[in-house]
Symmetry: C2
């Protein structure tokens, strides 16, 4: 199905100046994509000027958090073009998230058309320094106006975009979160839905007061093995081997995570995907057998971890960033930014729109 | 602080006709209350016509479910007046929910002014048959436009209202939910926040296909003791004694629940608040020592439970509704609708506004 391009789109784009200081996810591109689901069908997609949404005060998304989203990037490549990284994986994960909340999955073709169209019209807005990108945020919300606790009958799907600088988290100080949980066993931790993030805010607020940056979430079932961070997956280098927690149902399966697993193997690293008991991890840091730890996700790609704090102790990693983190970050970014051959077929070029 | 009354409010109310078929939470009153939180301060409250909200596509509420709400009723009393039931308890619980998600609590005075003003202007919309009411829905949402996973810097607080008929759930067939969870230990189950309800939708969708009405949620820690329903607390009558699960951190503390506990004691029932292992409960139903079970909440007050299904078995309650449920429902409704003396000081009269 073709996408309707609102006549105002060209003027919005021509009148827009990319701010000098970008930040991450704060400057918004002046256009967006919308499609509406009603009576069991998706409407034609539209590219329209970025503008406030009109949402009924009784809409399900506002009361019952019936919403899911994705995070992905359009990169400016070495050759000057624009490319997306594995967008079909985001389409697939968003369909999974939608089903977890009884929302109609956005069809893969609609999802891909949407992100490609936004990237294509925003081609001039994709910043060009290494690490910079156009961050794309597809999201789906339940819009039916009805206070009953039940799935919405109508939905809206949007893609908004933000020209963003490299996400500089620096090296992070984590805190082992032993009280709160971001998701339950049998809950929504493996889906990218709003409630997980809402539940994580209090923990992060608390640890910031103590000089930490991010919570290290434990598995809600055993309250002992490492799950992930609020918005990134966890890796550690232990005796030269790369470890990451196996998926448990409460971990969001990051696209960066499994791309890194594949990449690391191809670079000759030993890779282990299994449970990581936090107490063992901490003593491996103390004894020096764990030399590096890092987190990964679309925004930062890889963020080194310098310290993990727990109760009275503060465990310092030997190297942050360490050599494995540096090598993986560079290898992945080289593929994403077109400096290295795309051996895995991960990149999809997007033709800039002319308007 | 006085409330600003928009000049359109009177016309909106005069032009509104209460629909003949009300339903519950579907017909919306034509006015609403709004207050805005920005730069650390609450704005003056305003009573304005009911209208779609203008929400930035990057607002935190849409992506990270930073939202909480309350549910309460204005009743038409025997004498023809309007009264609220323990509104300060809703104010208190909403402040608790807000803090769990790092939102600024709505000050008690602002909350109470808001619900009283809405009830007062909607006095003519409060239906008069026993069990009918004006359902009030206060809610608070994070509105900052910024894709960072962090607490919003700005918020909007609304109260909307819905003239509603008695919430007829009939007698309910519950299903013991042994896979999914609505909330985690250390999660948000004891707060009235959107994510809990989003997480519950899939389970309810599944069991409806099997002929059941509601999930019976188990404690996410032991996966064995009864917590509650998706929107109601659980009670059982076992050997003549009234049992309800003790609060565990994953149960929402219902205002109906603790009002019923107080009322039941005053009526001479033995009341026990402790863990209820579901297997024991089911065998007590099978043996006949558990004679009644019911759920309670603002909407339905008390809903009898006729069946609890688990794996291959279907456990039928002897009486649905049973005599204890009937007596408690009548006693509470008699207070709420002003037929019985308000011995506990629960009711607050609201003066109808003249406009
Ligand atoms: C909870 C959580 N875990 C992990 C990730 C990493 O996923 P991805 O690599 O697909 O960005 C994200 C988001 O980006 C996340 O929100
Ligand atoms: C999860 C949940 N439990 C219990 C209740 C009952 O609370 P209350 O009696 O205050 O209405 C509600 C809501 O009404 C609820 O949403």
């Amino acid at each position: 199905m073709s996408i309707y391009i609102d006549p105002e789109v060209a003027a919005s784009l021509r009148g827009y100046e990319v701010p000098e200081r970008l930040g991450f996810g704060t400057a918004m591109a002046p256009i967006m994509f919308r499609a509406v689901y009603q009576d069991g069908c998706w409407s034609q997609g539209e590219l329209i000027p970025y503008a406030p949404l009109s949402i009924d005060p009784a809409a399900k998304v506002l009361h019952y958090a019936q919403s899911c989203f994705e995070g992905m990037k359009a990169y400016r490549t070495q050759a000057g073009g624009i490319a997306l990284f594995r967008p079909e994986k985001n389409a697939e994960r968003m369909a999974f998230s939608a089903k977890r909340l009884c929302m109609p999955p956005v069809p893969e073709s609609l999802f891909l058309d949407a992100v490609r169209t936004v990237a294509s019209y925003c081609a001039n807005l994709v910043p060009g320094n290494s690490g910079e990108s156009l961050y794309l945020r597809p999201f789906l919300i339940g819009t039916q106006a009805d206070l009953t606790v039940s799935a919405s009958s109508s939905y809206e799907f949007y893609v908004i975009a933000s020209p963003s600088e490299a996400y500089h988290s620096g090296s992070m100080r984590l805190w082992v979160e032993r009280e709160d949980a971001r998701a339950a066993v049998g809950g929504t931790g493996d889906a990218k839905v709003g409630g997980n993030y809402a539940a994580s805010l209090l923990s992060v607020g608390r640890l910031k007061e103590r000089g930490y940056d991010q919570s290290l979430w434990l598995n809600p079932s055993d309250r002992n093995s490492v799950d992930e961070l609020s918005g990134m997956n966890f890796f550690a280098v232990i005796e030269g081997t790369l470890h990451t927690p196996a998926l448990t149902g409460s971990i969001l399966e990051g696209i960066t995570r499994y791309s890194l697993l594949e990449l690391a193997e191809s670079l000759g690293y030993q890779v282990v995907e299994e449970s990581i008991p936090v107490d063992r991890l901490l003593s491996q840091i103390a004894s020096g057998s764990c030399t590096e730890a890092f987190a990964c996700g679309t925004a930062a790609i890889i963020s080194p971890i310098s310290v993990i704090g727990d109760a009275e102790h503060c465990y310092e990693l030997q190297q942050a960033p360490g050599p494995v983190a540096e090598a993986l970050r560079q290898a992945l970014l080289d593929i994403q930014e077109g400096r290295a051959e795309d051996r895995f077929g991960w990149m999809q070029a997007v033709e800039p729109a002319s308007f």
